[in-house]
């Protein structure tokens, strides 16, 4: 079991070498690095995109619940 888990972790590690969390495990540092590579304007627009995507998901879920 433990050997299987170790193997999976190794594969995941190799598949996503950029994935890394902070010392306390709360922050995905790879996401943070991606964000820091952007300009402040690009970060603001990414926030808007995320907001609107969340809104479209919410609307889709509401429609789904209304149908069922």
């Amino acid at each position: 079991m433990s050997e299987k888990r170790n193997k999976t972790e190794m594969v995941l590690k190799e598949a996503s070498p950029a994935y890394c969390v902070s010392a306390d495990g709360d922050i995905d540092l790879s996401l943070l690095r991606d964000s820091l590579a952007k300009t402040p304007w690009e970060r603001m627009q990414a926030n808007d995109d995320a907001l609107n995507f969340a809104e479209s998901l919410r609307t889709a879920m509401e429609k789904r619940h209304a149908k069922s």
Binding site: D26, I27, L29, L31, S35, W41, M44, N47, D48, L51
Partner: protein
């Protein structure tokens, strides 16, 4: 449709004297949490408040606590306002006269940095002052933002 970037654009184009604070400032610094509103600290002079009113005039601005009240500021109201919480067609804008942990507009201005946006320059609360402000607020999501901001400081120190 939310468009916080457009709200910023309008504030800058209307020459509103303000500093971006709060979650959207954290986003500008690189925090990857999503924020729902624009928080600004601004000078609460009549002229500046009228610029804010003009900036959002076609976005059906209303007072957040009283959505039945459209934004129609009078000089008397301007003189007594400490904060202005607005809801517009493009999102929420909270205009604050002071920031907890930092101080009034002059103090906030002193602890701000200038960033270049496609349509003009904007002042944003610097990362240390933003950490102080978020620590002073001390809500659960503020604590997470502080962790992000400290991680950003560390990353920037390494580059």
């Amino acid at each position: 449709m939310q468009n916080l970037s457009e709200l910023m654009h309008r504030l800058i184009s209307s020459q509103v004297e303000f500093v971006l604070v709060g979650g959207f400032a954290a986003v500008a610094h690189g925090v990857t949490q999503v924020t729902l509103d624009v928080d600004i600290c601004c000078r609460f002079s009549e002229a500046n408040l009228m610029r804010i009113q003009k900036a959002f005039a076609d976005l059906h601005p209303v007072h957040r606590s009283r959505p039945d009240l459209p934004l129609e500021l009078t000089p008397e109201q301007c003189a007594s306002l400490k904060n202005l919480h607005l809801k517009t067609d493009l999102g929420i804008v909270d205009c604050l006269g002071e920031v907890l942990g930092v101080g009034n507009f002059e103090a906030v201005l002193k602890h701000s940095v200038e960033v270049e946006l496609p349509y003009g320059k904007c002042r944003i609360l610097d990362i240390d002052a933003l950490i102080r402000a978020k620590e002073a607020m001390n809500r659960d999501h503020d604590k997470i933002t502080v962790k992000y901001l400290k991680a950003i400081k560390k990353q920037q120190g390494q580059n």
